[in-house]
Symmetry: C4
Subunit: 254 residues, 4 copies
Amino acid sequence: MAANTARSKTVRSKTPTRPSKIQLDDLVLANKILFRFNVVDAFGHISVRDDRDPKNRYLMARHLPPGMVTAKDIVTFDMDSNPLTHTDKAQMSERFIHGEIYKLRPDVISVVHCHARPLIPFGTAKGAKLRPMTHMCGFLGCGVPIYEIRDAGGMTDMLVRTAPLGKALAETLGDKTVVLMRGHGATMVGESIQEAVFRAVYAMDNAVVQMQAHALAIGGEVEFLSDEEAAKSSRGRNVPRAWSLWKHQMTARG
Amino acid sequence: MAANTARSKTVRSKTPTRPSKIQLDDLVLANKILFRFNVVDAFGHISVRDDRDPKNRYLMARHLPPGMVTAKDIVTFDMDSNPLTHTDKAQMSERFIHGEIYKLRPDVISVVHCHARPLIPFGTAKGAKLRPMTHMCGFLGCGVPIYEIRDAGGMTDMLVRTAPLGKALAETLGDKTVVLMRGHGATMVGESIQEAVFRAVYAMDNAVVQMQAHALAIGGEVEFLSDEEAAKSSRGRNVPRAWSLWKHQMTARG
Amino acid sequence: MAANTARSKTVRSKTPTRPSKIQLDDLVLANKILFRFNVVDAFGHISVRDDRDPKNRYLMARHLPPGMVTAKDIVTFDMDSNPLTHTDKAQMSERFIHGEIYKLRPDVISVVHCHARPLIPFGTAKGAKLRPMTHMCGFLGCGVPIYEIRDAGGMTDMLVRTAPLGKALAETLGDKTVVLMRGHGATMVGESIQEAVFRAVYAMDNAVVQMQAHALAIGGEVEFLSDEEAAKSSRGRNVPRAWSLWKHQMTARG
Amino acid sequence: MAANTARSKTVRSKTPTRPSKIQLDDLVLANKILFRFNVVDAFGHISVRDDRDPKNRYLMARHLPPGMVTAKDIVTFDMDSNPLTHTDKAQMSERFIHGEIYKLRPDVISVVHCHARPLIPFGTAKGAKLRPMTHMCGFLGCGVPIYEIRDAGGMTDMLVRTAPLGKALAETLGDKTVVLMRGHGATMVGESIQEAVFRAVYAMDNAVVQMQAHALAIGGEVEFLSDEEAAKSSRGRNVPRAWSLWKHQMTARG
């Protein structure tokens, strides 16, 4: 991390050129999809490693509701979550979620942070555990840890507004795909913008169905995917297929 | 209050000039937002202290569904909830909710009264208590009292249609942000129109999530924000950010 | 009833003139409102006593989904539910619900029959009882009987497709405002089209909230309106106010 | 089946002409209806026996989200689920669900496969059983089996991507109308596209209501349709009436 920091300072001294059009377009579209499907409301954000320098930079919108984000609002950050562009604008106070995860997880290309409502109960009801109900959510089969901000920061305003809090969150996430945040929301990661969005939408979806299944079982058992089923079903053509539909829907209705 | 009444009588004898355009615009927009997000249906209302004479007057629409309110429907009331304009029109029978809260709470600038569905169970299920699930609802951390109209008025038609019933409600609210009304709905206050609307939307939101968390815990414990977390998280940039989105949405779709 | 039958036979021999435009417009609008708010889907119907001969005739659409009904689809029926117009068209098999209620309830001007989803559990869960949660549903305070078609017809296809089944339903309704139909839906009545529609929308609404309240109370008590509160709150300006909004919404969006 | 296979090989050697316009139109419309009513999302499919050779061919869209399907995307398959057209395109990996059901069920004309959310709990909560709540769902009265893919395939990715897995599903379906698939979704059949779509929409609908009824009964009894009521009520004019509305809705809004 020390090396990263040094490098990013060097980068900052150069004038950053514009991110690639494909990344800008996908990131803007991702913001709109997350808003349309109620993963985010006025709050929440999505980032992606910057194609131009994926080890040291990421892209994310400035402080704006996701549904209002356009390409010109996309900021370039270094891995310490310092803005390299748009420095005259307000930035997301929780950008450290993104930077700190990228530092610890070289495999992660994109990060979503949200307050998706159906995920909140799984982070607050004692003993509840989000588990994969169907093959669309095999990515939950590796386990879904819960981040307790009190462990890292004591009594806070609940926001991950510093690097140490972000680092603690990244460590709780570990090698998983989704981390729930008690009294706050959730963060999910992917190997692409598309995968991170897919996991956000379907993790939320899984939560709704799982709550219903527990209620229907009235305290009895629910049959989840086995670890093997979850692992096998988390691959395949699901992500591009869902993305193609969402892109189609966003284009059709603005 | 006696002084207020005397003063308002004086005011009434003058011809009231028009409220400021910004207040009219915000109040009309607030009506539309509350309707769009199902905080209100054909019923419910929002008021604001009149900028021209905030100690003695407030503004609120005449007897109309909130979704139909326009600037020309905004009435000026004195703090005894007598209309100073639009005196030939029918007025909200429950306007005393607003006037009586303004009398007791000089810090309150805006009041919302609604029948938001998810809040009803928390006012009627014995032992239920609305508590902050996330940092978006830190304003619930100070406690949410329940108004029992039977205590003030015996067996009524449930409406706060007199000054004494309004005063009893204001006293039950006390120094809090939200008061639930058994068998009726809820009333919430803020230091601005934006804050009152924000609290109405997110109190309702909190109720939905809290019901799910209790169901998921199946009688077990749910972890709410601590008092300190709630107090710390009720500040910040949330209100203007949400308002900017809602304004954008209303403008985009009429 | 014998007299009614005799009279309607006389009426049938005359050429019926068109119903009043106001009744046609309101009845078509009512169909659209019930569809928009999910009281009905492809199924369900609403009728009104014919202004031209309210003792002996009623108006209702021919066999069509409510969302597709236009003024030219409104049929005139006698109180035995024989169509006096549109005799070349298919008619609702359950029109006897309407005719038989009009025979037994001279105070009833309009009847809605629907399969509104949230009402179904209250007709099928043993021991459940629909009761008024708020002052919007004071009309439920007089009690909500449940029609068991097995008592009148044994094992049927569940449809009220004969006069005797309709009469049994009307008798179960008695002097109430709403009757639930086990394994089928509900029927509600009003002194106007507007009131019948209002009761349909808000009975459904009450059911949703009541289910949530019972779940939140986890087997504990829920505080309903008292009989006196219900009786007092079932009067007032609610019906015209809601209708004005719904009419506005239907006109604005077609 | 051996005969079917031989025949289909012959068919494949001929140049297939276009399917009938009415089948193409209905199949495209069915895709749109299933999408609009959330029976399917980016995933799920519907097929129909090909009118030109109903014993040996069926029609279904290529690998596409149902909401994006147009007439030119409809592929002709033989009963072994080999594509006879569009052979340069990706196909649904689970097409074997369709072919194997057609082989075992000569009465079935159309098959829907979906992940409709409310049906998932009934396939995963131990002891839960989907049963007919109202006369709209009489088709559930014959019983709703649950397909456990582990019995046929052990630990898989949950997809019915081979003929043997499809055959096992068809055998679990037996002579019923709907089969739930544990950790996956459901498959329903009909004597027409319209009936298969109707059953998909209303099975989902029934699931929602049944979960609410169980919750309201708090572990107590729910009264379902008796076998006789279910059998009697599964006939009638319901399917064409619902279809006429859905067609109207799709045409009105694209």
